[in-house]
């Protein structure tokens, strides 16, 4: 390069200065982008109350269009029966929903009726955002099983009512299992059986279709395995209920199956995020996978492109480890101006027979026992599969663990992220498990 002419040094500095102003402008732009987002978070929407004697409730939930359709119909029904109450609904996809909800709660303008996830209920209750269901807000819970209701209780107080019930299950493609001569999974099968069957399927198809989706990175399935061994994800005081050795043993099991070719390889497994678009089973690259039975809808067979069946988890102990989980919950915002009406709406939503019939299994099994039995006779197709499955495992299900502590969402994503290092051969199960424990503890304490 040609060095600058010394006689031009002054001009150069001047130009340099000018250009540096541009650089500064750009730096300020960074700040606007990074920090502008922050203030947006603190912006809030005000609450509202009708002055004309009419009560206006806001009900927010997550889900998709077909759930929106049935929800709207139930809202209309409620409004017809309660002419002095109107209910405004809004919905979004799961992650967006919680981002919005957090900012609304922070600003004091959250909806009156809030659909809640089991994983976050304690976090919101601890932050004083949720109203306890009591005399000011009464919902008839006599028809809901106590074990399901326990999932909404924090320190003995009820903050969340289940909207639906689901449980863990094993989804498989019966045709693929039959073609490979694998033993059909049924109540009482073991992890050993799973290893044999999945290996057989991978071998029979020349690894065109793997035996099952690698389930090692999903904390939900690890939880069932833990419970089979008499442990839980969290202790009652909200600390981790397991050690690095437990995680190591689990990852050695799943990673061993992956290495032998029985489970999907890393590049498929790393994309698993609960969406159907990224599910290797939907793409016919795997013949089975763990899931929740609430994922079975009328369209399931079309989505998978084939008929599927479901079975309980394998277990090598006397315990099945599964539990009746609140697939979704509903809460009342602490600062709602109309707690009684909000509770009345929730009561209608879960207990009214007509509402229950409209909703079907769109949020999981109805939590009202009577409604659940009524609806069983009207079902067909995949929802019927889920219903029958629930009946099969009903007396094997244990009480749901108490809601997980604040930071549990981060622990779940950390679990999958660090398992990625195992399947990409960047870390041994043991060193990965130790690192996971360290990060999980950080997420829970700070």
């Amino acid at each position: 390069m040609t060095p600058a002419d010394p006689s031009l040094a002054r001009r150069e500095r001047k130009n340099g200065m000018r250009a540096s102003t541009r650089g500064k402008a750009a730096r300020v732009a960074v700040a606007i982008m990074a920090l502008g987002a922050l203030v947006a978070g603190t912006a809030a929407c005000g609450g509202d109350s009708g002055d004309d004697g009419k009560v206006k409730l806001r009900f927010a939930w997550w889900g998709n269009a077909d759930r929106a359709e049935v929800t709207e119909r139930v809202v209309e029904l409620f409004e017809r029966q309660n002419p002095n109450i109107t209910v405004d609904t809004s919905f979004a996809e799961f992650n967006a929903y919680f981002q919005k909800l957090t900012t609304e709660v922070a600003g004091g303008g959250a909806p009156d009726v809030i659909q809640m996830d089991y994983r976050y209920v304690r976090e919101y209750a601890d932050r004083n955002a949720l109203l306890e269901f009591s005399d000011t807000a009464t919902v008839d819970t006599s028809e809901i099983s106590t074990s399901l209701l326990a999932g909404g209780k924090i320190d003995g107080k009820l903050y969340a009512i289940p909207l639906g019930q689901n449980t863990q299950e094993f989804t498989y493609d019966p045709a693929a299992w039959e073609a490979a001569g694998a033993e059909v999974p049924e109540l009482g099968w073991t992890w050993e059986d799973l290893a044999v069957a999945t290996a057989r399927i991978s071998a029979a198809t020349g690894e065109q279709t793997y035996g099952a989706v690698d389930f090692g990175g999903i904390e939900d399935w690890f939880e069932v395995w833990l419970r089979q061994n008499g442990k839980d994800l969290y202790t009652d005081s909200g600390e981790l209920g397991y050690t690095a050795d437990d995680v190591t043993a689990w990852w050695e099991l799943t990673n061993g199956l992956r290495q032998s070719g029985a489970l999907t390889p890393a590049d498929l497994s790393t994309k698993v995020d609960g969406s159907q678009a990224n599910d290797p089973m939907v793409k016919k690259l795997a013949a089975a996978g763990f899931a929740y039975d609430s994922s079975l809808t009328a369209q399931t067979f079309e989505i998978y492109g084939r008929e599927i069946a479901i079975a309980p988890f394998p277990s090598s102990s006397a315990d099945l480890g599964q539990y009746a989980k609140p697939s979704m919950q509903v809460c009342v915002f602490k600062r709602s101006k109309h707690p009684a009406e909000a509770a009345a709406f929730i009561d209608f939503f879960i207990n009214d027979p007509e509402a229950s019939e409209i909703l079907g299994l769109s949020r999981g099994m109805p939590v009202n026992q009577t409604n659940q039995q009524t609806i069983g006779q009207t079902l067909s197709g995949p929802p019927k599969l889920a219903y029958d499955y629930e009946q099969l495992v009903a007396d094997k299900l244990k009480e749901a663990p108490p809601p997980p502590p604040k930071g549990a969402g981060t622990v779940k994503s950390t679990f999958q992220r660090i398992y990625d290092d195992v399947i990409f051969d960047k870390a041994s199960p043991q060193s990965a498990a130790e690192r996971f424990l360290k990060e999980a503890k950080q997420a829970l304490t700070s």
Partner: protein, 300 residues
């Protein structure tokens, strides 16, 4: 023009300036100060921020393995993508600088990716192209090279993002083109008379004459690269994966702030990024004395 006239009614001037001033104060300076304050607190959006002093900064630099991983990924991205992008921009600008009747059409065609570049749509397309069973994997497979999906391979995922950045060379290319047109043709005539070949002319005429423009593009593109967020967010589905191989600094900042709701920590990260970009920009200007050549207006 006398200064007197300008100063006659300053109130009017401030009235006309007020939209900008209000915007700067409310939308820039205010939030910046708020975030500076938050960076010294523990703040989860729900409860009042709790003062923790320099704790966020300390934890970032001493305890957080992912923070270091994200710094490493970002530095690699900046150091690889910026020079490649500038080289691509300069190369195409040199080609387009030749007189041609369809030059305008070419210029638009090459600029188009930059218009689309920051959009979510292009990142989605990029993901599809480099995904498992995408066009790229199948092309390599047809040649007998098994690569697997690029976006799902920790060793290749960052390359996908670098290629996306390089492909968006349009903006610096247009600036280079303008710079090339400013170079006096007599310099080329002179070098031709002296018998200089293409390479010699490029090195001794084009590069020195273009160096102020190169500096400008280098600074701007470096800052852009440090701030890059959307491609990594879209291609990795917001996770920075696989195995944290595309965990850009900004993406980690976003995760800390908006999925874990550690706004104090995220603010501290934002300020550190600001400081680092400032230092890097200053360093680039410092080195500029050694290689940037200003021809100046005075006759030579």
């Amino acid at each position: 023009m006398s200064r007197y006239r300008h100063d006659e009614r300053p109130a009017i001037a401030y009235l006309f300036l007020s939209p900008w001033v209000a915007g700067a104060l409310l939308l820039t300076i205010g939030p910046m100060l708020a975030s500076l304050y938050l960076s010294f607190t523990d703040y989860d959006l729900f409860t009042t921020p709790a003062w923790v002093g320099l704790d966020n900064y300390r934890r970032m630099l001493t305890e957080d393995d992912r923070f270091l991983a994200s710094v490493w990924v970002t530095l690699r991205y900046v150091l690889i993508s910026t020079p490649l992008k500038l080289a691509a921009a300069l190369g195409v600008a040199l080609l387009l600088n030749r007189a041609s009747r369809v030059q305008g059409a070419y210029r638009s065609a090459f600029y188009a990716p930059s218009l689309l570049g920051t959009s979510v749509a292009v990142a989605l397309v990029w993901r599809a192209i480099f995904d498992r069973q995408g066009v790229v994997e199948r092309t390599f497979a047809a040649l007998g090279i098994e690569t697997g999906g690029w976006t799902t391979n920790p060793r290749l995922a960052l390359i996908v993002l670098v290629l996306l950045a390089v492909w968006q060379f349009g903006a610096p290319m247009v600036i280079f083109l303008a710079g090339l047109k400013q170079i006096p043709p007599e310099l080329y005539d002179a070098s031709a008379v002296d018998g200089a070949g293409w390479w010699r002319t490029f090195r001794s005429v084009t590069l020195p004459m273009l160096s102020p423009v190169i500096l400008f593009n280098l600074v701007l593109e470096t800052i852009h690269a440090f701030q890059s967020f959307t491609p990594a967010y879209i291609v990795s589905n917001g996770r920075g994966g696989p195995s944290d191989s595309t965990l850009f600094y900004t993406l980690y900042l976003y995760q800390r702030g908006f999925t874990e709701f550690r706004m104090g920590y995220a603010s501290a990260m934002a300020w550190l990024l600001l400081a680092v970009i400032a230092v890097v920009t200053a360093l680039v200007f410092r080195t500029a004395r050694l290689w940037v050549f200003y021809s100046g207006e005075e006759p030579r």
